[in-house]
Amino acid sequence: MNRRTVIKNLALVIGGAALLPSCLHDSGKASIALKKINVSADQEKFLADVAETIIPKTDTSGAKDLNLHLFVLKMVDDCFSKKDQTAFMSGLDKLSKEAENRFGKPFGQCSQSQRESLLNELDHKQAEFYKAQQANKNAKKEVPADDMLAFYAITKGETVFGYTNSKYFMTKQIVWELVPGRYNAYFPVKNLKPNIKHG
């Protein structure tokens, strides 16, 4: 995956996550085996809190229930360039410090609205960045140069991608059918069930 795909995932949004925890769980380290990035248990916890802020538990499962933060780590580890991985890790620490500076406590202990206000700020910047890119067709599509924004863009993109591709989402929210057994070329919109993925 490249930075372009991150943006595509943000813009398009398809589909969740369930990963096997590593058998050799060394406390102080991330709970899944990673090949390239080095993630501590604290960093993992922070990421889980960010993902949970993006997709919170409501009357239905949230990011933590679905292990979306582990999916984000898996994707960053396997599907991103070294440059993007470095920006992700550096941005993760910067955002963690930013929360402490702003609210005087760790991100995970902040209220939902505090956490959301911080991430929505980044979401807004991300949208502006994306808009500018679309306006300038010749520009190379990239994740923002700013590390904190790059971390956010990757985390948001992969959390949403993981959520909308989770078994939970694809069987309970927007049902994805392996075997439709049909092609109706003329289907009245009024008969459309919005929770079935038709095409």
Binding site: M1, N2, L10, A11, V13, I14, G15, A17, A18, T53, I54, I55, P56, T58, T60, G62, K74, M75, D78, C79, F80, S81, Q112, E116, L119, N120, D123, A127, K156, V160, F161, G162, Y163, T164, N165, K167, F169, M170, Q173, I174, W176, L178, V179, P180, G181, R182, Y183, N184, A185, Y186, F187, P188, V189, K190, L192, P194, N195, K197, H198, G199
Partner: protein
């Protein structure tokens, strides 16, 4: 081979050898074995058994480790194959990695390969149209290649023959530039595809948008049930291998059929180094392979040899088959072997939106992919500044729009409630390129691969004709889209290298004249009558239609001829 005794040689002797197990090789094996010949099929890759070796075929999106994405390291290590639309996590095990099988690009060429039993017939896009006399007569009329040694009437019965067995869906459209075939019911066009079809035929004489013809069992016939195949389930996950046999592949159709006769020996992991030509006997006597796993070199013998390694590898095998009689490659008296390679041009696309027909959408998936626009340029007379023309795909669909801005409960709510988008329409060009002497495949004189075969060098490029044709496609399609009231029309020139279309053809072309071609009208070598080539390498010109159906028909026809010649004692 000093250690081989006579008995061993006898065990390694067959009536026929088929090199390659894909689209055309599968047909050769089926036809030979049905006619009672003991046949050896050599495949360089591993075995892929229908419905057994399709590891991802029933997986849900969430079951893929990376939800479909190809990991970064694999992409970086394999830039060529990573550009192929179907090289995704679900099917990447069926594609050859650049790093495992290198080649030399004097000019960029994206060589897309499938080294396994079934070859690329497992992952193809399944579009199947007949060629017309406009295609077979084209070179003679325009002078851009040598005359085809056959006309439509020569191949028409063979199109019918293979269509009935393979199962081709389509409408009888009654177009002289795209002959009708033996069709199963077509997959219908949707509301906007039909609307565009009407706009086009109302505004232009000789232009049509029809339902794409494709190798899917819309309604299976008894012959298909007998093959063990059932109705296409409209999954549109074909590139993973279809457990229903819903589309035609060598794995689901021709190879099992040939195996049932008891006459087929299928040998995977067999990298063909060369066809053996015996200078004393004056004919080809067999094939030398290296076992890909053991690295053992083995010779197999037969009366007749069909080379179906896929166009480019067929050129490689023939170029590497050198003898006193044929120092420049088997059958290459004319010197044209490896030259006049051509392909299709898929580098142009156009997209737009439409806000009419809003009461309709589609339900399920269309395996045919939508509509097809047969070639309408220079068909009956030369009317443009470029030679030949292009066909095009056309399709319309409505997706779901999702507001994915922000974070938290609202975002979650929005993701679960997408809204139906307006219609998006798109088309891609399938342009005919002109076979040129300068478009060549040659062998490197020093570098060899791990199986003792010289590396192939590509010197293939687009030319001015392709640029003019692309320009015309953009102009004509923009005009047609505008007439249809489509909005936000956007053209896209991918500037991709040749090859990504996966329609490479030529190099061992057919022709009437042995001085300018390698094969005669029966796909038989002019200079070595027990060797036949019926894959893409045989093509004299490329037309604008997808070529696979023509390979199937030419193969069945050539086997029929070869066996009758064997019976007459003309091939011994």
């Amino acid at each position: 081979m000093a250690n081989l005794n006579v008995d061993s040689a006898k065990q390694r002797t067959y009536d026929a050898i088929v090199i390659g197990s894909g689209m055309s090789g599968g047909w050769a094996a089926k036809e030979f074995t049905e006619k009672g010949l003991n046949t050896l099929m050599l495949e360089r890759g591993r075995d892929v058994k229908h419905n057994i070796n399709y590891p991802t075929t029933n997986m849900y999106p969430w079951e893929f480790e990376h939800r479909g994405e190809v990991p970064y390291d694999i992409q970086q290590a394999n830039p060529v194959i990573s550009r192929c639309y179907a090289f995704r996590e679900d099917a990447m095990h069926f594609f050859v990695k650049d790093t495992e099988h290198p080649y030399i690009q004097d000019k960029p060429f994206d060589w897309i390969r499938g080294y396994q039993v079934g070859g690329k017939s497992l992952m193809w896009a399944r579009q199947t149209q007949r060629w017309s006399d406009y295609d077979f007569e084209g070179p003679a009329r325009d002078g851009f290649a040598v005359d085809w040694p056959i006309r439509y009437k020569d191949i028409a019965p063979w199109y019918s023959y293979v269509e009935k067995f393979a199962g081709i869906s389509g409408n009888k459209d009654g177009l002289d530039n795209l002959p009708d075939g033996e069709f199963l019911p077509a997959f219908p066009l949707n509301s906007v595809e039909n609307y565009f079809s009407k706009v086009v035929s109302n505004n232009y004489a000789g232009r049509n948008v029809i339902s794409a013809r494709c190798a899917h069992l819309s309604v299976p016939q008894p012959i298909h049930i007998q093959q063990g195949r059932v109705q296409c389930q409209r999954r549109v996950l074909c590139q993973r291998g279809c457990p229903f046999g819903g589309y035609f592949s060598a794995n689901s159709t021709t190879i099992p059929w040939a195996l049932k006769t008891g006459k087929l020996t299928l040998r995977p992991y067999s990298v063909v180094q060369e066809v053996i030509y015996d200078d004393k006997k004056g004919k080809a006597t067999g094939v030398r392979i290296m076992d890909a796993q053991t690295k053992q070199v083995i010779e197999y013998y037969a009366k007749v040899i069909f080379v179906n390694a896929a166009a480019i590898n067929t050129n490689l095998v023939l170029l590497n088959s050198k003898s006193q009689r044929f120092p420049k490659g088997l059958g290459n008296d004319s010197g044209v072997l490896g030259k006049y390679v051509a392909f299709h041009n898929y580098s142009a696309r156009i997209s737009a939106e439409y806000d009419g027909e809003m009461e309709w959408t589609t339900d399920g998936r269309n395996p045919a992919g939508g509509g097809y626009i047969p070639r309408f340029r220079n068909v009956k007379k030369q009317e443009t500044g470029f030679l030949r023309g292009y066909a095009a795909g056309f399709s319309a669909h409505r997706g779901m729009d999702t507001n994915s801005s922000g974070v938290g409960k609202n975002l979650k709510e929005n993701l679960g409630h997408p809204t139906l988008s307006n219609w998006k329409v798109g088309s891609h060009m399938m342009g005919e390129t002109i076979p040129k002497e300068t478009n060549t495949l040659t062998l490197d004189t020093t570098k060899k691969d791990d199986w003792g075969v010289p590396l192939l060098k590509f010197n293939i490029a687009y030319d001015d004709n392709d640029a003019k044709m692309k320009q015309d496609y953009f102009e004509q399609m923009t005009e047609m889209f505008t007439k249809a009231g489509f909005k936000n029309i956007q053209t896209n020139d991918s500037k991709q290298a040749p090859g990504l279309d996966i329609h490479e053809m030529g190099g061992a072309r057919m022709g009437n004249d042995a001085k300018t071609s390698i094969l005669n009208k029966w796909n038989q070598m002019h200079a070595c009558n027990n060797v036949f080539v019926t894959d893409g390498a045989c093509m004299t010109s490329t037309s604008t239609q997808n070529p696979s159906l023509t390979y199937m028909a030419l193969t069945a026809r050539a086997v029929d001829y070869a066996v009758s010649e064997m019976k007459k004692g003309n091939i011994a």
